[in-house]
Structures are given as C-alpha cells and as structure tokens.
Symmetry: C2
Subunit: 255 residues, 2 copies
Amino acid sequence: MHKYKLLLNPSLDETVHVVNEALKKGFLSLLVGLCRVNYKGRASSVLGWGERLVIIKRDGSVLVHRTWDFQPVNWQPPGSVLQASTRGRNLTIRSVRLKPRESLEIEFEKVFSVLVMDLVDEAEFTMYASEKDMQKAVMANPELVEEGLRPLVKEKEVEHGFIDVYAVDREGNIVIIELKRRIATSDDALQLSSYVEEVKKRSGGRGVRGILVAPSASKKALFLLEKHGLEFRTLNPQKCAELVESSSKRITDFF
Amino acid sequence: MHKYKLLLNPSLDETVHVVNEALKKGFLSLLVGLCRVNYKGRASSVLGWGERLVIIKRDGSVLVHRTWDFQPVNWQPPGSVLQASTRGRNLTIRSVRLKPRESLEIEFEKVFSVLVMDLVDEAEFTMYASEKDMQKAVMANPELVEEGLRPLVKEKEVEHGFIDVYAVDREGNIVIIELKRRIATSDDALQLSSYVEEVKKRSGGRGVRGILVAPSASKKALFLLEKHGLEFRTLNPQKCAELVESSSKRITDFF
DNA sequence: TGCTAAATCTCGAAC
DNA sequence: GTTCGAGGTTTAGCA
C-alpha cells in the first residue's frame, strides 16, 4: 500500500474533501456512518436511517453494505459518476449511471470513520470447474457420458439456441448433450427437449437421443426427462476441471 | 455505534484475537492487507498475492473485494463457519459452508488495518417496481394492456409453470399475459408461446392470444413473437408502482 | 452496441 | 429441506 488516510469522527466537510480527493486519484474509500439511501432507476428503493458501510471503488462502483447479507443493500455499478457534497447539515453522496439512467443517493448524518487507500493488486484470478471445462472434458473424454460416444460438434447452433455437445452413439443415433455445472432444473430438461424435437424434425428418421449431464437433477427435472424420453447422466464439474487440467499439463510436459 | 476497535499495522496475533472476538460477538469486521485467496467447493479458484479488503459480517458471510469491480472476487455466503488462526508467519482466515460443502481460505502476509464495529441498523428496506407491482397494476387497471380486457386469474398454474395473468378480451378470446420488469428476451417469448400452446390444446376451439408485457423487448424476442402469432405491449414497471402506490393510498385515505 | 447465456449466481417464498 | 423463479440480477463473450 503506497498511501492511505484515516479519519475518525471527521467533520462532514473534512469527509467531503477526502472522498472527492480519493475519487480523483482513483483510490478505494471506505465510509462507516449513520446514513439513509434512496435509489431510483430500473426500480426504486428506500432505506431508512441506520449504520452501514459504504465502499467506493476506483472504477466508480459504489456498494452499501449492512452488517448482514452477502449482497449489498444498495449499489451502483462500475462507470457511474459520483460526487460528495454537504447540503445543509448532512453529507450527500450522489452517484449517477447514464445507461440505463439510474441514481443512488446516500445521505450521512454522522460519519464514524473514513479510510482511503491506494491498494496495489496485480494478481491474476483463475477459476476452474466452469461449464466450459465440462464441455472440454466431454469433448476429450466422451466416455464420461457413455462408452463408445463420438462427439462431433460443440456449440452447434439450432433455432432455439445452442447445443452444448452434438454427438453420435455406438448405434449411430444422434445424441444431443446439455451440460449444467449445477443441479439441473425442469427448465434445463425442457430446453433439452426442445433441442431434441428440433433435431428430430431434420434427422430423416435417424434416432435422436437427448442426455442432460449435470452433478444432479431436481425431481421435476428427472420426471420431465422421463416423460419426454430423455436421459440423465451424473457428472461432477470438479472432476472435469481436473481432467482438463491434467491433459493440458501433459501437453505442456510434452513440449 | 455502540462499540468499535481499530488497529493500525497490528501484529498477526493481535489481529487473530480481535477477529475471533468480533465473530463471537457478531460484530462487523473490516480487514485491509496483503493476502492471497483459495476457494474450493462448487468450483475452484486461485487468487495470488495482492492488497484487498476483506469484510466479515455478523451472519458469517465473507467478502473479498479488490479495488475495482462491483462483485467480490471471492466470498462465502451467510451461515458459513469461520475461524482465524496464525500458521507459521501468516494469518489464515478459513470459512467453511456445509451444504453445499465449500471452503474459502484467506492468507494474510501483512494486515494494514482492522476495523471492528457493532453497527446498529434497524431500518426497513423497501423496493418498488417489481414484477409483482406490475401484476397488481394490470389486475386493477387492465386497460394498461388493452381496452376492454377482463383479468380473471393471476398465477394460474399450467403444466410448464405459472401464467402471470389469465384474462379474456372484448371478443371473448382467452388472453395469456406474461409480465417482465426488464427488457424481454427470446426466452420470455418462448415461455409465453409454450403457455399459449398448452392452453390452446384445452380451449376447445376458443381463440387464445398471448401478450408479452415489458418495458421493451430484444429484436429476436419480437421476431419470435411475430413468428408464433403473439403480441407485445410496452409497460413501464415504474408507472405500475406509482399506480399501485396511489391506489393503496386511496384505500388508506378511505379508512 | 446489442444480445445471449453462465454464474461459487443470491434470495425468498412455497411446498 | 427442496424446488422454483425473480433480480435494480451481474458479467463475459460474441456478433
């Protein structure tokens, strides 16, 4: 951390100065105090007086956090334009987004602490076990779904959307595979069904199967699959990520 | 604010003590320092060394924020069980969630500041212009959609889900209304289409219309509506909220 | 820029 | 406890 500034029980004028300065320099600001919040834009919201944490980031995003809940109670996304000012006896922070037009107003009656910092963070963030990882794993190791399966195309476009994996089974049937990294829902089953119906229309009498592949599925999803003559296979996204990882490692080792 | 504690450049042992104490008492903790983060559970992620803000809330939720982005880079939802400890020369904060099993590990090499507070926040949070508001408005003022429309049921159950508003038009046709508070997508059009098809099967030859009602719609959504013989009406959720508000006020005034 | 689909989606309500 | 659907969803990828 190169620079920081800490104020305890600051005057509102002092706070305005420090926050506007932080905004100009692109520093991170944390404010804790007694405030109320109004939002108007895609929807409207009102939050009465209470003690909260307000975070102002260098990209213009604003977060209002209560002492509970993962989600901020109010916020403004990156790119919003923000200004702090004193009006009467209170401090107001106003943030406006242009597209879509929406505005957030935080009014402080009392600020307990202000912490402004120039944090240094150059690290990369990497995630594994996404749906893309499952797709790669199934393309490279189709036996994860079924012995003898031959994947032909991924992301095959059809009228309603995209088929995750388009394959052919041992007996020459077309196999439509829908992948989900989470518990499959009835929506997922219906989506697969619509893909299968569409492919059936153009398959010229060739057999068409549909397989929903996910770590698990809801009861209604399983019921709908059964009803539409579709199948379900269990597949753990973490296992897929490990496979993708180890195979890319093997390639790296080779060179 | 009843109580708070602030540490600047604390030792890691001191930090462990204060954080565990805060957890026990259900206070909000803010930590700023140099850390790295690993997550494993529904997915996996790795984040290298960098300076960040860590928020620990009284319900057990944990947030790791970088100086940019609206979203936390890593997190743990409410109900997770957390513990701080020193291992070797570093401070580790470990948070575990049981269902689904996932764990977050934050390792601090250096803590710049710790702020622990007992924030008081009893205020209510209220939101307007939800889809429910649109539903109420259309039930009470069906002319928002079409002159002469008579709404019969809301949340009518059909095989695939629930019809937002089930109505009859001037000419006695059944009208299926699907409401969206945001720009309508092609999925929304297809959902409406499936409702209409299902109702047609049981309508005994009676005319069935489908209307998608939203502030606007994507091109593909409009194309699909056209293709399936469905209709679109513009309706602003904010306007609906105002109507609902003013009518409930009228009722209040009456008593 | 608009649009589509994934997300460690989260969150709440209904069952 | 499970499931389902809304959300100021956000975000990234791609046309």
